[in-house]
Amino acid sequence: MIARLLRAALPPAIVVIALVAAWDIAVRLMQPSEYLVPAPLAVARAFLEQRAELVPAALRTAGSAAAGFAIAAAAGVLAGSVLAASRFLMRGLYPLATLLQMVPLVAIAPILVIWCGYGPRTSVASAAIVSVFPVLAATLDGMRSTDPGLAELFGVCRASRLQRWWKLELPWALPSIVTGLRIAAGLSVIGAIVGEFVGAFAGDASPIGIIILSAMRENRTDLVFASVALAAAAGFALFGLVSLLGWALLRRWHASAG
């Protein structure tokens, strides 16, 4: 099992190392100013120097993202189930849901601050908003493709609507839902950071979004890169956790797992 994980991690690790090496060579050759493109070592140094500030900040952002993601997962599955159950509702509400997704988060963020106030609540809300649609769409899609033969079986057994949803449609849609959850996991960190840009508390308990903003203002591009890398790592970790969950749920019976 450990061997398999390592083997799976090897190709992307090689790609990352190759990219960082290419970046380093490019910087050495072209010698851009530090404020434009810092060298990988400069970024690493910035991270090491500020890690006491950066790591807790990243954890705060990851926490907001995870909370937003959890809300979006529940809301997305429920909303997707409701839309799957009623053709009328689906025709009426699905186009609206897609429209909501089109509105750029940056434009909604100030409104969120007015509704949720300053602090982590805004970043949780913005993370949730950005994550809900992939889950909703995946749930809807998965449920609507329920095998009609199985649906008929449930009909023959006179199952209640709730039984049908819980014992047939939800497990059936699970592979699709997991795909949606993975997409949402990555997006949730972005959503949290955008929310932080507009509504987070700076100071002792800054999240990563604030650090990025103030590093940009102070022309500390190396710190910006380090913060962004850390945020990406948080997103990746969340994605990994969700993938692991998906694997655990699906591995025994679905080809997509493993």
Binding site: E152, L153, G155, V156, R158, K167, W253, H254
Partner: protein, 243 residues
């Protein structure tokens, strides 16, 4: 108990049929003859647009279906799948597991309870599907080409299994099949149907004294299948003539 039909949907025109209680009836015919529609109407999955399904004793009996695809939930174990109808009806866990295990034993899947459907062969999955149909102890068992996707050897084995189960439980069985051999082997009454429009063209009652695997080799059996074949062929010719 006796059962009476009259007339049907556009897939069926003027099909009229009596199904004897406690016996196996086979519906045989080419594609499009409406045999599946007829079966589904018997079980309440469809309703006739003209005419009606009537049951002796008035009330509709408890029916169970087995389809050509096993229709097992891939994420549940075999025993959990078999217990599903009981679970949906609210039977407590301990009791439904026990009943499921017993049925699995009857269909010779005793060791396979914990496996997932994906780990079983086609024949085993079909047996699990039948087990699920039987777990509720239905009065009416409806099978729609249950062994159509399987090879000949497996099919014969499963036919014998079906006979054995019927022998034990004694419910009314209606089997829809493409196979004349299977129809003759299983059915106390074999109903021949023809398409366009779907209708009943004839009915024979092969009166074999006993049904054992050896029966298939006997000349009487061959005679039965021959007459069924003839009936079918005639109906096709008539149809061609009419067209």
């Amino acid at each position: 108990m006796g059962r009476t039909f009259a007339d049907g949907t556009r897939a069926l025109a003027g099909a009229s049929l009596m199904v004897p209680a406690g016996a196996i009836t086979a519906l045989v015919g080419p594609s499009g003859c409406g045999k599946t529609t007829l079966l589904r109407m018997m079980g309440g999955l469809d309703a006739p647009t003209s005419g009606a399904v009537r049951f002796a004793g008035g009330a509709r009996p408890r029916a169970a279906f087995a389809f050509q695809e096993p229709r097992l939930l891939p994420w549940r174990s075999v025993v959990s799948n078999v217990a599903l109808p009981l679970e949906l009806a609210g039977v407590p866990r301990g009791e439904r597991r026990a009943r499921a295990e017993r049925i699995l034993d009857r269909v010779q899947l005793a060791g396979a309870g914990r496996k997932l459907p994906g780990q079983l062969s086609g024949g085993m999955r079909m047996r699990a599907s039948i087990a699920r149909a039987l777990v509720t102890e239905p009065e009416l068992l409806l099978l729609d080409e249950p062994f159509g996707a399987l090879d000949e050897i497996t099919r014969q084995a499963l036919d014998d299994l079906l006979l054995a189960l019927w022998g034990e439980f004694g419910m009314t069985v209606v089997v829809v099949t493409h196979s004349i051999v299977e129809a003759a082997y299983l059915g106390r009454q074999v109903v021949v149907m023809a398409p366009a429009p779907g209708r009943v063209v004839g009915c024979i009652k092969p009166g074999f004294a006993s049904r054992t695997p050896a029966l298939r080799a006997t000349p009487e059996f061959a005679a039965s299948t021959a007459s069924l074949l003839q009936m079918l062929a005639q109906s096709m010719v008539r149809e061609k003539g009419a067209a």
